[in-house]
Each structure stands twice: as C-alpha cells, then as structure tokens.
Point group: C2
Amino acid sequence: MLSKSDIKYIQSLSHKKFREQEQLFPVEGVKMVKELLKEANQAIKKLYAVKEWEFIHKQSIPSDIAISIIEDFELQKISSQKTPQQVIALVELPKIDIKTQIFNGVTIVLDHIQDPGNLGTIIRTCDWFGIKNIICSPDTVDVFNAKVVQSAMGSILRVNVFYTALTDFLIMHADFPVYAAVLNGISIHEASIASNCFIVIGNESVGISDEILALTNQRITIPKHGKAESLNAAIATSIILSVVKK
Amino acid sequence: MLSKSDIKYIQSLSHKKFREQEQLFPVEGVKMVKELLKEANQAIKKLYAVKEWEFIHKQSIPSDIAISIIEDFELQKISSQKTPQQVIALVELPKIDIKTQIFNGVTIVLDHIQDPGNLGTIIRTCDWFGIKNIICSPDTVDVFNAKVVQSAMGSILRVNVFYTALTDFLIMHADFPVYAAVLNGISIHEASIASNCFIVIGNESVGISDEILALTNQRITIPKHGKAESLNAAIATSIILSVVKK
C-alpha cells in the first residue's frame, strides 16, 4: 500500500525540477524494466510493481533493490501512461560530465528540439547506429521527460545526452568538422562526412540558429523528390546517420 | 455563433464511422489550411475560423466556400488539439479507387501500423521522396485520424492512402517485386531495389505477418551498428526510401 506522500513523491518526478533535485527518473513498463535489470540494475533505486510482475521476475531482481508490491489502482496513480504496464522503476540520473567526455566518432547536436517523441526517436536511432553522444541546446526538451523515455525505449540507458550552450561547445571542440542539416546544402550522398564530426539538426519550424550556422563547415541536405516542405527532425537525423554509418 | 448541433456534428468527425458517413474530415491550423487553400480548395466544404484569421486570409478564400466566424471558446470545443490554431476546415474525403489506380514507381505497404504519429510521418516522408501511393492493411490506423493529419501536415493532400487486404493486393499485383523490411535480411545498401516495386513495413512489435512474408521476393535490413532492438516504423521507412530515391 502506497502512502499519500509516496504517491506525491513519485508524481513529482514528472517535473524536471524534482527529477534534478532527487537525481531520479521513472522508467515504466515490462519491457524497459527488463532491459534495466539486464543492463543497468545498479542504477535502480526502487521498484513499484503489481503482484503478477513480481511473481514472474522474482529471479532477476537483485536482493538489494527495494520493491513495493502495489495494486492496479495505485499503479494508475503513479504512472504517466494511460494504460500503465505492471511496473515502474525509479532510476538514478546518469552521472556523466560533458567536460571529461571524449567525443570521438559521430556526435549528433540538437538545436532546440521541442517534441519529446522526436528526441526519444533520435536517441533510439542513435543507439541503432552506434552513436554514443548527443549534445542538446539548453532549450531542447528534457531527456528524462516521460514521453522521451517512452519513445527512446532501452536506448535511454545507452546513449549519453548532454545539455549545453551549443556555440561555446562547438568553439571548444573546433578540432572536428561541423555539418548542419539544412534545406539548401550539398546532397548527403555527395558530401564526404568525416568519421569524427558533429552533425547539427535544427528545430523543424525555425531551423538552425544563425550563430550555429556560422560555426558550420558544411551544409548538407537530404535530396527532395516530391513536395513536402520539410522532414521531421527525427527522420532527417536517421537518414543522415544511415548514410554516414552504412 | 455555433449551435449545439453544429458542435456535435464537427466533434462527431473525430470518429472514423462518422467521417465515412459524411465523407468529410477536419483539417486544423493556419499552416495546413493555407496549403489547402493553395492546393485543394475545391475539396473544402466549410471553414470555421476566428475573426483574426478571416481578416488576414479574406483574399485567398474563394467566394463559394462557406465560412463561419466563431469565438475562441467555440474553436476550443470543436478542435481536437489542446491549443487550437484559429481555423478548422471540413474537407471532402478524397475519392480515389484502388481498382483503377496504377502503381508505378515505389509503393509503400504498411502492415498493421497502429501509431498515428508514425503513419503521419510516413505520409510526409513519402511526399518528400515523391512516393505517390501507400497501401495499408485494414488494421492500420485510419489516415484521417486527427493525429495522423497533424503529423502528415500538407502531405495528407498529396499522397494516396488505400486500405485493403494486403495478401490479395500483392497477389493481384505480382508483376512488381515485393521487398520486406525485416531484422535479418540483406543490407539495403547491397540490395538492388527495382524502380517499380512494393516495400512492406511491419508493425514494430510483431513485425510483418507470415502470409505477407511468404509473398516477398527479398528481405531487406538496415545495418545495425549499436544496440537498439529495433527502429521505429517511420524511421525504417524513411531510411529505406532515402536509399531507393537518392
């Protein structure tokens, strides 16, 4: 049985401010918690699950992880989803430091991406293509937002997502070339993209900001054959990655 | 001023059954209605707009289109969006017949895609790559669902979307090869994909059904370099299209 304050505490983690204060974020659902237990169980602070879930997964829960058995109506209260799925884990925010991180390989740089589904899909696609790091402008949606976590799926545990002022960052890392995805650049099929580089993807409506374009070495474009005005940011990212990482 | 029955009528169009009965679907927002007026104004049956919108767009509204000027609180009632944007058009469902359609070029075939955002994004991406036709299994989400329309944007007006039993359809159109996007096929970068063909994309959780796989000429795969279990259906479609339509 959850107390009122337990419920309030878990619900508060739907806000970025409280996630940062508590250094925790919720991960929901059978599939995601299964991946967590397999790959990152040391990061799990607490599990809330219905009896049926605990019965099936008992063997895979390390003994030092606290688990609360709850009723369906309680799960409904603490879940951010319309149809919650049996289990919620509270997971420690990753402790990664942008200052000590080495950005070898391809790094995706996101300028002002606001749609949580887009960010989640970008994280998942980066994980598919073996991209380790994503740099976000401070006004990009928070990576531990419930909808981002849901669409990133297990990839949220494997891809590092940093938030920082992009111009300062790119100036500090001027050793690698910067490519910007725009509507009027050289075709991605003709550009020769360095294996260590930054690829900037902008907000769909407003594009990439001028200060960042000024730091760009090459503008690249996905050739258009039809009439759509633009591509969704996650689609653009994935097409570019599929060309870079054949 | 809208009557109660007006409001009820427009709200009813959020249900597929009523859209089909009335042969109408709602298109919302300044940007989409602008595209409609430019490209397909003969399909607009009626406009509902706030005064500010009408004032700015007066010149571009053909005189034979009925327009109701409504208040913000009325727009709120008839809109499917949290923050409605000034105008809603009721638009005639396109009258296209799968039996008389010619499927030259690349046609995307969707097996049981349930997420409306995914279908909308696939339509928009098809429009970008100049793909004219999408064939959906009957259990794929309805193309005139509000969320599909919203994420497809203006492309909903330019790409034909048909619903039919996929196996019968593929058997009837056996003159073109069928490629299926799966996790264990030949790399899309090595496959030579015919310029007239069908490319089948399956539901992310359950994949492509066995009966359809049995009708496939070649299984194709997006090479994986990292650890994500799968790619979102819209992402997979767009990467494949970017390879086929360089």
